[in-house]
């Protein structure tokens, strides 16, 4: 990259360094810049959502409400906590990782629609601002699920709920454009020689996730449109007193929101496959099974939404939803066993990324088991609306999604920034997070089963001991995130410089420099015949720099393949 001449003695920000920083604050079509923009934005919202969680736990130290905030504010705090964590942290973080990595992983120069990519990111900013402004004009207090009539004009007459709906509309549009971008990019822009089953599993995961986003998010838009009609145009679509259907909102909302939880975990599972294989130095066990399981979860995820409504659905629908909700545990279980098979007898290197991946395995399995328990109608009838559900969802969302986010962060930070994250700080971050998380959320299973309801500012004094323990764990968990932010900022500035392939990975992002040049690769990248061929002679040869022209042999001597063609015979 040509720059102006830099003075021989330079300190602080040179013109070159300043332009490198300012590009992240301006409109850029480069998927790598957009990826970083997503990541920094979402990790900022993680802090805000986390602070709200600390406020919740501080208030629950005593059984009576009003320790720091009153009941109405408490409702607003947990509503915003959920909304921010889901829509402004987890989902944008995975989009950020995907934006940065998917073109690199498939050997493309950029996404299929760079302008749309930038547009998708810049929608996040006004959406986030609108949501935060909503806090000031009278915050939403109806939970992130916003059931009617609580979220209607009578019980939520402040404007914050309306702004919430508009904000989510914008985020939905951003998601949908992103999903189309990923689907087209993965289908049409893979480098020659990369058939569908030579794609890294993170790409499969993003492909499946994009299908979910494509099909589900329009239902959220529909629901929000009707909500805005009721709140702004004086209609009564959801009001049962005037002929509306009270079950309509839960049905349309959960038809989106259940697939949404798979949007939030499937990319993380893709990251798991990458990290576990690299740091166990073993091929992924059951590559095709894991790839197809991602697709199966994407489809099956649309058939289970009723399990959020067991207590108010027509009785004949309960058993079918119970069955589908249990079936979806099967592809998830296939993945878990695939990952266990991957690390079995591997040469495990306990980097921080690997620790977080292993942490995912333990925590997500617990969350998955409680999920199957909740899928059972008789159990759910007792546990619905209690802290048992809060425990389940945090085990899968924090123990699952957030742990995989951190695994990806420690794994890909060197590629994105050209510097290692400090491993010692990383281990401290991991252990405080793991212990704090367990201390906070494991007891919730007990308080939930003993009957403590969720979303309450005050509770029966018999639950106080468990709540104090939970809050203590939460404070440890919260404080434990500080080392990560310090580590990230300090490493950016003065961390150990990382080479192109610090982890000796076989996927394409490691074949280019850290960070990659603007056009991603020099020449056309040649993928390894098996992106998880660790321990094989071909893998070792690829790592040693031999880029066999595999594409030539696959076409049996005829013209070389172009990006959207398949090999003419043999393996796919």
């Amino acid at each position: 990259m040509a720059t102006t001449t830099i003075p021989a003695v330079s300190s602080g920000l040179t013109p070159a360094k300043r332009s490198q920083l300012t590009k992240y604050f301006t409109w850029s079509l480069d998927h790598k810049v957009i990826g970083v923009q997503y990541l920094v934005t979402s990790f900022t919202f993680f802090l805000i959502g986390g602070a709200l969680a600390m406020l919740i736990r501080a208030n629950l130290l005593t059984p009576n409400s009003g320790l720091f905030i009153d009941k109405a504010t408490y409702n607003a705090v947990f509503s915003m906590h959920g909304t921010i964590m889901i829509f402004l942290f987890v989902i944008p973080t995975f989009i950020g990782f995907a934006n940065y990595m998917v073109p690199l992983l498939i050997g493309a120069k950029d996404m299929a629609f760079p302008w749309l990519n930038a547009f998708s990111f810049w929608l996040i900013i006004p959406a986030g601002i609108l949501l935060l402004v909503g806090w000031m004009v009278g915050p939403p207090e109806a939970g992130w699920t916003a059931y009617f009539p609580l979220s209607g004009p009578i019980y939520s007459h402040a404007d914050g709920q309306t702004l919430w709906a508009v904000s989510l509309h914008l985020l939905g549009i951003s998601s949908i454009f992103g999903a189309i971008n990923f689907l087209v990019t993965v289908k049409n822009m893979r480098t020659p020689g990369m058939g569908w089953f030579q794609m890294p599993l993170f790409v499969w995961a993003m492909f499946a996730t994009s299908i979910i986003i494509l099909l589900a998010t329009p239902f959220l838009s529909g629901a929000l449109t009707l909500m805005l009609f009721d709140r702004l145009a004086g209609t009564n679509i959801f009001n049962p007193a005037t002929g509306g259907d009270p079950l309509l909102w839960p049905n349309v909302f959960w038809f989106y929101s259940h697939p949404a939880v798979y949007i939030m975990v499937v990319p993380g599972m893709g990251i798991l496959s990458e990290v576990l294989a690299v740091f166990a130095r073993k091929p992924v066990f059951g590559y095709k099974a894991i790839a197809m399981s991602s697709m199966a979860i994407a489809i099956l995820g649309f058939l289970v939404w009723g399990h959020h409504m067991f207590t108010n659905l027509a009785p004949w629908t309960r058993i079918p939803f119970m069955i589908t909700s249990m079936i979806i545990a099967v592809p998830t279980g296939i993945k878990i066993f695939g990952w266990l098979g991957t690390i079995w007898r591997g040469k495990i290197r306990f980097t921080t990324a690997m620790m977080f991946a292993l942490g995912f395995l333990s925590l997500f399995v617990i969350g998955g088991i409680t999920g199957v328990l909740l899928a059972s109608v008789p159990v759910d009838e007792q546990a619905h609306g209690t802290y048992f559900v809060v425990a389940h969802l945090h085990f899968v969302l924090f123990g699952g999604s957030v742990f995989s986010i951190f695994a990806g962060a420690y794994y890909w930070f060197p590629k994105i920034t050209g510097r290692y994250l400090n491993e010692r700080m990383g281990k401290i971050h991991f252990w405080i997070t793991y212990v704090g998380f367990m201390l906070s959320f494991l007891p919730m299973h007990i308080s939930g089963l003993y009957g403590m309801p969720r979303r309450v500012a005050a509770y029966d004094p018999k639950f106080q001991a468990i709540n104090i323990l939970t809050s203590l764990g939460a404070f440890i968990l919260g404080v434990g995130q500080i080392p990560f932010y310090i580590n990230a900022i300090a490493s950016l500035v003065g961390g150990e410089v990382a080479p192109a392939n610090p982890w000796r990975g076989l996927t394409l992002e490691w074949t280019t420099s850290s960070p990659p040049p603007e056009h991603n690769f020099e020449g056309t990248p040649i993928p390894a015949p098996d992106p998880y061929g660790y321990g094989t002679p071909e893998g070792a040869a690829y790592l040693a720099g031999e880029r066999n022209i595999a594409v030539m042999t696959l076409t049996h001597g005829s013209a070389p393949l172009l990006p959207n063609e398949q090999p003419t015979g043999g393996d796919r």
Partner: protein
């Protein structure tokens, strides 16, 4: 609604200093754009589907539809406007056929007819609906669904207007007319959606 496939591009591979370079597919952009449009139709289909689902959900809560005391919407004038919409799709197809024959005059005339008929549909329906009052959940659902459609129709009409302007400037050739293809396909899609909505809103 047939799309024209471009001829296959010659394939070359050259060795540069840094490695092999395969030539970029010249029709990659077109393939990307076409796939985008197909996926966009899926998204829009789900969006209108969510509203249709909501309509039936509200009906089952009501029992009778329209609810007692509410008149069913009169479909005679809307049927006329729907006919205009259907004819406008036909003229859009003729416009593309004209371009394929390299007949620029016919292209502009048919495209112009499409826009005029589309405007007739939008203005006609807006006039009808603006006299409506929200008396309850029947009219509320009606306006929500129809409103979503007409908003899309206006947006696509604006796009068609832009495409008409470009056509009149002679910017399309039989080999390169992506925005024309996209605009007319979007219009056909809205046509199909309207047929389904017409059935749900007026007939059943």
């Amino acid at each position: 609604m047939t799309t024209k496939k471009l001829p296959a591009a010659p394939r070359t591979v050259t060795m540069s200093e840094t490695g092999l370079v395969f030539d970029a597919q010249p029709d990659l952009k077109l393939n990307n754009n076409r796939l985008f449009l197909m996926l966009w139709f899926v998204v829009e289909g789900m969006l209108f589907g969510s509203l249709i689902f909501s309509n039936f959900s509200v009906r089952s809560a009501q029992g009778d539809w329209p609810p007692p005391g509410v008149d069913r919407m009169d479909m005679r004038l809307p049927l006329l406007f729907t006919a205009a919409l259907l004819i406008s799709s036909f003229t859009a197809i003729q416009a593309i056929n004209a371009l394929k024959r390299d007949d620029r005059g016919a292209l502009v005339r048919f495209l112009g007819a499409t826009v005029v008929l589309g405007l007739a549909f939008v203005f006609g329906m807006v006039n009808l609906i603006s006299h409506l009052q929200f008396t309850g959940v029947y009219s509320a659902m009606f306006v929500a669904m129809w409103g979503m459609h007409v908003a899309h129709a206006v947006a696509v009409l604006l796009f068609l207007g832009y495409v008409l302007w470009r056509a009149s400037q002679g910017r399309y050739t039989s080999n390169s007319y992506w925005s024309l293809e996209a605009a007319t396909n979007l219009w056909h899609f809205l046509d199909v959606v309207w047929i389904v909505l017409f059935v749900v809103l007026y007939l059943v």
